[in-house]
Symmetry: C2
Subunit: 449 residues, 2 copies
């Protein structure tokens, strides 16, 4: 150990090592039941009454409840499952044998998101030791299928809506700004429409000599994509921009107050400019309140080394739209299908692989306001408020739909820009564990008073 | 043996089995020297004086020469190398253990093109037995690198131009029409420009949440492709169509006389129409004298099953242009580079992976005319004359450039539409061996008289 940690972070580290030693790979059905039991046991040790919530045959969600001094009830969300560890040969130490090197802890799931489970748990244990009870009532749901798309989470929440009822939610957290370590409170996520466009023009590939008279799936796909979005970056699906609301003055002010990360991004991605030469406030607004139509994948024919003269029978594209308030994925999918048809691309199949509306907790919502105010005391630094993050968490929609519950992503997360979530050598910095435990402790205390 | 063969075809079969038992995979450096020696030995047995032609360190071409009654000198071209046999588990019998099943012979290289070597050789042996000498002078070059792109063939031809001098050439042959077995004489091939377009917009892939402000390589590639060719199928590279000459009246007449293969093609590729609803003569002219701009491959990001929300750093396309007289690949590559630049795609890299001009022997050329006339006697059927085939053979350019030699693809080839050249279970029909030997025998006799 080459970084001195406070006693609460030492406790979190010991919990985190336990959590990371237990594989829990949802996609591969590895260690799920064991991990649910381990998690439930740790919650019970920390004073929770617990049970496992499940629908038939799927990994259970672990649930715990602990009454505190204040009747104010906070619902925490986390997940105990992790991504597969492959490719194993790219790990410098085995993925399920947590190892500390140069002030960092390496293990699969350490950042996403067992680190935060450990930080919140350590804060709860510390509060109980100090005061004999929690300052507020905490419910905690920890699911086991997040990394495979939270496929049954909505069902579980709906089936146990009464049990999960709360006054506010803490989702997977946001952490701290990379430069000056200001606590971050994020209020919502973009929506997602993930589709696959595919074209099949022939039963089998042909020798490319036939291209003069045989149909080309790849060119059909290029045509279909070209009618969706122009070289200017504008999406040409009718109505695509119609439902979008402008950011409010408060949202704009929050963005203006955010830490400048332009150079950090440029360095990370090796770029010298952003799209449309955006910078400053315009860049922040585009990143937060701009919708996207992104090509996540293209595939047709032969793309290996050298020459293969083939006319491919099939082509496909994976496309993800990140949606902003108040765009609705179903409407956009419908409009896209119409647009393809009227543009002559009836032969292009459109499959919907994922769909999720944007969910925002308004900046002036009582709970959000309260969290922001309390967070102001964490580091002696004004919190950075992020009205909407660029990613998507389906659980926010589930919570709103089935519980009517709004929440935030609080500064209790333990990861940094180099955490390699989902990749080999996933890691956290121990110094961030210190910050996350302090953040959780401060927020639980403050919300209870 | 369940198909009765004539004695010449029996001889060809026996030679073919010997040739196919010897692996000769240029790409994997397997059996090349042994195969060159075996081939040279078979030529010597058939009365040729032989040698091996080589440039330093590459597979030799086998050369043989045999003077005949007439001083007319015919240069035969074949290749003794074959494609790799992988994937081996898809073969019903081992690729280098020739096996006869249901009137077909299975082995790697049996169709492409050891079958034709055996047929030509059997015809030569039969003529020598019958007449004591050949009716004409035959030179024969059999190279060992055709399946890896004839990379040194031009060098070899240039280095031995005097030795190879001839009055006409027989390239790899064309065989017989699938329906009525009319002999086919093909006179030329299209050219080829094979390029790779690639774009790299970032150093690493990003989470697709960044797509609102980070550059997309895939969309850049779609834009570049869109400016090359429109949804109407027209190529928009300036000057692309300028150098194209119209087919002559004779070429049109030859196409009009061709066997109708529309239904065969529709069945093979599972289509119910050709591009632009072409049919009949218009279809034949497009297939023969229409240039192409074909996407052979597309690759970017994630194209596997399910969802991956990634903004890929890189995208690439493989594109092959089949060129018709008098398009020149270098000019088109230059014009495309200019076109991309003036369209704003200076960041799209253009790599040239292959380049070859179209080569045609005119329909009224003396040698071509002579072969067509002689071929008329083969089956009692008028030959089908193909002015230009849709594929590309770089050797035609080498022969013209270094020897000033024109030639044809004569009806001596042994393959059928289901021969699976380059694929597992490569095969010929034994009945086609019969035809090819008869074709070669007839042509050698006729050209010598």
């Amino acid at each position: 150990m080459d970084v001195p940690l406070g006693p609460d972070a030492e406790r979190a580290l010991s919990l985190l090592v336990q959590l990371c030693r237990q594989p829990s790979i949802a996609a591969q059905h590895i260690g799920i039941a064991e991990m649910a039991d381990l998690t439930e046991g740790l919650l019970r040790n920390a004073g929770f009454s617990t049970r496992q919530l499940s629908v038939e045959g799927v990994p259970p969600a672990v649930f715990g409840e602990q009454r505190g001094r204040s009747p104010f009830t906070l619902l925490l969300y986390n997940h105990y499952d992790v991504q597969p560890a492959e490719p194993l040969d790219l790990w410098d130490s085995p993925p399920f044998e947590p190892a500390i090197r140069e002030g960092m802890l390496f293990a699969r799931g350490v950042a996403d998101n067992k680190g935060e489970i450990a930080a919140r748990l350590a804060a709860i244990e510390a509060l109980r030791e100090r005061d004999g009870e929690l300052p507020l009532t905490i419910k905690w749901i920890i699911e086991g299928e997040e990394e495979i798309g939270s496929v049954h989470f909505g069902e579980i929440v709906q089936a146990h809506a009464g049990l999960l009822r709360a006054d506010g939610g803490f989702w997977e957290g946001s952490g701290f700004t990379p430069g000056t370590h200001r606590p971050i409170v994020s209020l919502g996520t973009k929506g997602l429409l993930y589709i696959e466009l595919s074209v099949e023009c022939m039963a089998v590939d042909a020798h490319s000599g036939g291209a003069a008279v045989l149909p080309s799936a790849a060119w059909r796909l290029i045509g279909a994509l070209g009618c969706m979005k122009g070289p200017d970056g504008q999406v040409n699906i009718p109505g695509y921009y119609e439902a979008i609301r402008e950011p409010t003055a408060e949202e704009r002010a929050a963005l203006a107050d955010a830490e400048d990360v332009e150079d950090r991004w440029k360095q990370t991605y090796g770029i010298d400019r952003f799209v449309d030469d955006l910078t400053g406030q315009a860049l922040r607004e585009r990143q937060s309140f701009g919708p996207t139509c992104n090509i996540a994948g293209l595939d047709s024919g032969y793309a290996g080394e050298g020459i293969k003269t083939v006319l491919p029978a099939r082509a496909r594209a994976k496309i993800d739209f990140r949606l902003v308030p108040d765009q609705q994925p179903e409407e956009i999918a419908r409009s896209l299908r119409d647009h393809l048809d009227t543009s002559g691309y009836t032969d292009v199949r459109l499959g919907i692989l994922g769909s999720c509306a944007p969910v925002l907790t308004p900046l002036d919502h009582t709970f959000a306001r309260h969290v922001i105010d309390v967070a102001a005391g964490i580091n002696g630094a004004t919190p950075q408020v992020v009205p909407i993050v660029a990613g998507t968490l389906p659980l926010l929609g589930d919570m709103r739909r089935h519980l009517g519950l709004l929440g935030v992503m609080p500064p209790t997360n333990v990861s940094h820009i180099g955490s390699r979530a989902h990749a080999p050598n996933e890691n956290i910095r121990l110094e961030d564990l210190d910050r996350a435990v302090a953040g959780a402790l401060h927020l639980f205390s403050g919300l209870g008073s």
